[in-house]
Symmetry: C2
Subunit: 419 residues, 2 copies
């Protein structure tokens, strides 16, 4: 575009924008929350149990009573299939896998792993943060005062050359965050090669732990779902099984506030975690686990519900992508992905424009995730990345919000190019 | 008794004991677990919710979705009445108040309180442990490597002279465990004077925290329940409100494995905890809280169910006490209490005999809580204390178990006195 065309684009966008501003919009696309229709999908979960149910386990323990540190075997079996990990290597938590991750970091800090000194007694602890990534992951390790090292995200997953170089040389690097499938916010699934290289990683630190958050393992949006190589199996083959913690949950399968979280781990790690849990808790909520087991029955029951989630979510993703294509397709001022699953669309606008786009949207009543939030310390050096979370708003609100967003992207680009 | 009488008692007891040993008993009185009849009391809780329920909060948030760091207002209001603390100063957890206590200790270790250095960066951290007390309290602080200082338990509660002397002089004492009402295992309720002295405590450490575990606040066994002075109010009057964390749960009201836990605190502490929770979790299980709110409705609903618990539990406590009186009443070789509430009977046998009694019982198929377990590091210097947990076994098993126990007490006393 020449300056005149640019000026024209700006004027048109500005007129539209001013119009939106008069509409007193109040739209929120900040977080990857399921929408109400999704919550209603599993209403039956709430009335699954009755007093006539069998609450006694094979060992005579009552599910309603104290105990059962690792959760119900039947629920662990379901997670076992979803995660590709033996049920015996899975420990169930309550409703928040984030809490299990926080606890795993906290335990590294307070008690340490693999007979090493607790991280609180070691200097300059660092965590690798493939970015763009999940802000709440990075925030946990920032809260503990660890140094966050950004790792570039490539089409195949994190830059493994860089990860290998850093981890194998530096004993103070104690962990790495990953969302390996339909990543938050990239939508990317790690390539087989990336998974194999993680399995072959030789960290200098014996107490290194990879936080493998398989949050979207069954959250497909397409008929051609991504396949993720099974890291658990690969690690066993390489003898590196102690360096990974695996996480998943039913938060976006059943109910975000009342689901079941799970953590998978090696036999050695299991022993350490069991000991900690014996001090920390009287056991997870097994009654809620029984509710899930009775409702879903098995992994097939989960897959069936995920099809219904997809029916609700896929049109929302399509709407955003059509809108982007229609409004921005030929302008070359924005790039976005079309993920096969997950909860996000990753949007890159022109360098130096992301903050301005988010600001413009906010002033027009459309709240987006803060620019840069997918990077450690919230700092996107190029200021290009915006995480789009299309799942929560109803279609009509989403449509409005994306209109405003496209307009803001044009304005910000024109402002930059016109200087 | 003269030696001949003693010998006679021993012989009689030994004959009985040998008889019990032939019966292949397998009885367990180790833990303060509710029994099956108690769990069945609240069966209705499991089918309280239906898809037609209102899940939307006043602010538009859906109870089933993420969020709500401090829990449902209605459930906090119920705990507010049980704990004597404003609902706004209560934070709800999931199913385990022990986990909330562990987290509170862990946060002191990882991040510290009241702008002091984290405990991990301070030397020789100590916790006061009024004993006999709750073994799992002591275990948490032992797990963090803190020094446990036993405090003698008097009729009025812990020895406050000693607590004041230590806490006011030693900045490395960071906390004190308490079960102020129907204590575990003493059954004691702290006197008004004791509560007032706790409220007036002037710890040398600004980051001192009293862990006030009001686990049995409404767990009466008598028509003349104990009254506990409200520490929260007393602290406000003395400006000491930041030095106490309050805990309670519905574990022994609704279901031990699927109840709701609560933590009360001052406004300042609330701000610190809110920040930590924003990193740690997506919020507690609000659906289970709604279940409780709908089932119990209010504190009166709780009191009503507690009456039913009492109807099940009081006869078990009476059975043990009658049996003790009948078998041991005139011998002067054991003392026990008759608590007005709670889950335990505190038994003191002759000095040096507790371990032997527990051993004899075990060999006859009756498992008791390990001797000394109510003391820091599991060490009862006088070896006299045994915690009796009469709630879990059915009456017939309890009857058998107490028979064996009385016989073992006689044998152990005779062994000691005969030399």
């Amino acid at each position: 575009m020449n300056p005149a065309e640019l000026k024209n684009m700006y004027e048109e966008a500005k007129t539209q924008y001013d119009h939106y501003c008069t509409q007193k919009l109040s739209l929120n696309m900040t977080r990857g929350k399921p929408c109400r229709d999704q919550l209603d999908l599993v209403s039956g979960l709430l009335e699954t149990l009755s007093p006539e149910d069998e609450f006694e386990l094979a060992n005579g323990d009552d599910i309603r009573n104290y105990g059962g540190w690792n959760g119900l075997p039947e629920m662990r079996a379901i997670f076992g299939e979803l995660m590709g990990i033996p049920a015996g290597n899975i420990v169930l938590g309550n409703n928040s896998s984030l809490q299990m991750m926080y606890d795993a970091v906290s335990q590294g800090f307070t008690h340490g792993y693999s007979d090493c000194k607790p991280w609180s007694q070691q200097e300059n602890i660092k965590f690798l943060c493939p970015a763009p990534g999940y802000d709440r992951h990075f925030a946990v390790t920032e809260f503990f005062g660890f140094e966050l090292i950004p790792i570039q995200m490539l089409e195949t997953g994190p830059d493994m050359d860089e990860i290998e170089r850093l981890v194998e040389a530096d004993e103070s690097i104690k962990g790495c965050w990953c969302v390996p499938k339909y990543g938050n916010p990239t939508g990317l699934t790690f390539s087989d090669e990336t998974v194999r290289r993680f399995a072959k990683l030789k960290p200098a630190a014996k107490d290194f732990r990879l936080f493998w958050d398989n949050a979207y393992c069954v959250h497909h949006l397409s008929d051609t779902p991504d396949m993720l190589l099974n890291l658990y199996d690969e690690c066993l083959q390489n003898g590196t099984e102690d360096q990974v913690f695996y996480f998943a949950s039913t938060s976006k399968i059943s109910l975000p506030g009342a689901g079941v979280a799970a953590m998978g781990m090696s036999d050695n790690n299991l022993k350490e975690i069991q000991k900690r849990l014996s001090f920390q808790t009287i056991g997870p909520d097994k009654v809620n686990q029984l509710r899930h087991v009775k409702y879903f029955k098995n992994a097939d029951g989960i897959y069936k519900v995920m099809e219904q989630h997809r029916e609700i979510l896929a049109p929302k993703f399509q709407l955003v992508q059509w809108k982007f294509a229609e409004e921005l397709g030929e302008l070359g001022i924005a790039h976005w992905n079309e993920p096969n699953g997950g909860y996000f669309i990753n949007l890159d606008v022109m360098e130096g424009c992301a903050s301005r786009v988010v600001e413009l949207c906010k002033n027009a009543g459309v709240v987006l995730t803060a620019a840069g939030s997918a990077f450690p310390y919230g700092k996107d050096a190029k200021d290009t990345n915006i995480r789009i979370a299309p799942t929560f708003p109803p279609m009509n609100e989403l449509n409005q919000a994306v209109q405003v967003l496209c307009t803001a992207i044009k304005m910000a680009a024109a402002e930059k190019l016109l200087g």
